[in-house]
Point group: C2
Chain length 371, copies 2
């Protein structure tokens, strides 16, 4: 019997994370965490051919249905959630049903939100098949969809019953998505774990070449870091906001380019570089750290500059709609050093504008390099 790699400690909402190889079709794991007879697997067209038939076979002892969505961030809408409700209602799925999110972060966010709100909340199991989803969206219970005017603006906190992260799924992941996931991995080092940053720096080629041991170690370490932060601040009243390093800039980039044109990981890589540049301009971060940070991203083939077709003003406008705006003040995650991120609300706005002006005028074709 597989043992959990760790448990996210949230009182009665605690749940285990299984991180290993060859566990995606382990019937005993699912049996342990599904109650009732009805199961709906929500997945997308990219993931389904690889894992859906085997998973349906594994779950053949249940009344198991499936919903295969078109892939991509553009699906993360209220309409898609409505299509899940429609299927659940048509199939007469009751409150004791279980939803399984099989796929990346997009599938997890949509399926999790449907689970949070169908009959005021049903059980769901996360089976993340991308590196990004394994290290980020599978821990913490944030679920939701985008609004045309802003990312993740509609949602709920809803913790899964368990997370089953199978390392083998990363072998079928397009290289671009693996690299995008590494942006989130690197983020954990930058926030509060300089030692892990160095470990990633040293093991980057192993990670890029899908070395199973390195990958499992990286995923488990990121999940432990995130679980620790989330356990101390489930509803993001304080410390949890550090996990948004690079995200306010990154979300603006994703929105400006149209969701899905830049991958989330790509956008936050450029976003973390912007956060570093602004931290330097404020005299908080030593200048040499920027080169170290950029170097890791560049070796992972990730963008370190914002898109050429976007202006500083676009970025400021989109940032003003961020969820971290409170009474017109935008909380930003900045850095005093590698592994020393902090929250700031009292920064000088003119320095922010100046930083963005120079960063955006220097930008050129970084996404095409990356594609």
């Amino acid at each position: 019997m597989t043992e959990p790699a760790l448990t996210v400690d949230l009182g009665e909402r605690s749940y285990p994370l299984y991180i290993d190889s060859q566990i995606i079709s382990s019937e005993s794991l699912y049996r342990k965490h599904i109650s009732g007879r009805n199961v709906l697997i929500v997945t997308d067209e990219n993931t389904a051919p690889h894992y859906l038939p085997a998973l349906q076979e594994t779950l053949s002892g249940f009344n198991c249905n499936r919903l295969v969505l078109p892939p991509g961030e553009s699906q993360k809408t209220l309409d898609t959630v409505a299509s899940i409700y429609d299927q659940l209602m048509r199939d007469r799925f009751d409150r004791n049903s279980t939803l399984i999110a099989l796929g990346g972060g997009v599938v997890g966010d949509i399926c999790g939100f449907a689970a949070a709100t169908y009959q005021r909340g049903v059980r769901f199991v996360q089976v993340p098949t991308t590196l990004l989803a394994q290290v980020d969206s599978s821990v913490g219970g944030k679920t939701g969809v985008n609004h045309p005017l802003g990312k993740n603006m509609i949602g709920a906190f809803h913790q899964p019953a368990c997370v089953i992260a199978d390392m083998d799924t990363l072998t079928t992941l397009p290289a671009r998505e693996l690299k995008a996931g590494l942006a989130e991995v690197i983020k954990y080092g930058l926030i509060d774990d300089a030692e892990f940053f160095q470990w990633v720096d040293k093991n980057l080629s192993g990670l890029l070449s899908l070395e199973a041991t390195s990958l499992r170690q990286a995923v488990a370490h990121c999940c432990e870091n995130k679980a620790r932060i989330v356990a101390s601040d489930e509803r993001e009243k304080g410390k949890r906001a550090l996990l948004n390093l690079g995200h306010t800039f990154g979300h603006a980039i994703e929105n400006a380019c149209g969701y899905g044109v830049w991958l989330h990981g790509e956008a936050i890589a450029a976003g973390m570089c912007l956060a570093a540049q602004f931290s330097i301009a404020l005299g908080q971060l030593p200048e040499p750290d920027l080169a170290i940070i950029k170097s890791v991203f560049q070796r992972a083939d990730l963008p370190v500059q914002p898109p050429a077709e976007m202006t500083a003003q676009d970025c400021l406008n989109l940032m003003s709609r961020d969820k971290k705006v409170k009474d017109n003040i935008l909380t930003l995650v900045l850095m005093k050093g590698i592994g020393r991120a902090f929250l700031s609300t009292d920064y000088d706005r003119s320095i922010l504008e100046h930083t963005l002006d120079s960063a955006f005028s220097g930008a050129a074709g970084c996404l095409s390099e990356n594609e």
Copy 2:
């Protein structure tokens, strides 16, 4: 300063209920429970002319916007919730904003669900202006909207910051809605409070003629009963389900007739009579109690029979989609006596069918009597 009539005790989600006259425009009450600058009042076209201008004046110290919905249960859809998101996004309302639900249960359910899911949850204040909303939907944190195939199928638990129930609002309520609210008042007596059932029976004419003291007493008593039950079982894992007395039958009636044709209170009055008839058929309820129950409903001008245009089979089909179905077994709230409701899953299905067959074949034009 107005003191709360009671507090719903839910740990860190506890909140006060103010139940009195002349409190709907009390600025100090709102100031105490609104944080941040941004306030959106959600109301409907029936309620707005009576109370919106004064409330906007009261809240003029805030950045206060409004959204006036068409009235009625047919508005309780995901599309309406989306229109609230649209307005909040257009107005750049942040996570520290407050939604105010000014109106009946429909407005409260829609607005509460928008508050539960906008930016993963913002604060909301309930200002119930119907008797039904004051005694029922303002306590307990159930929010949500209907799915075309079932009532309240999409939703979330989200507790308000406070409830401001002003008795004076009942003077502008159409008589039909006042009576529909009395169905929920009577329900509290039937569930576990025979003494209150007798009190209502005795004070019915005072309640129907809007006697302020009787109304305040009834509302406070119902809210206390509900708050006690909810505090012991917030997520409806057990006892809270008793509050659904008459609702499984009632929801089927509402759905069969088209939402809004029968008012919720009317449907559950007929539903409680069906629950009583089935309880008698099972040998649980003494037969004379049915006459006592019907008599109160009839004096409140409420239906005691299901709609003539509906069949027993319609009812069974719709009931099979109820949220209280778990693994194909439908939990029903039945009665051993007045004030002695209980949950049952192991009833004889053929007796249920037989009860419905005779109840529905005997039905005739009861809504038209009631209109």
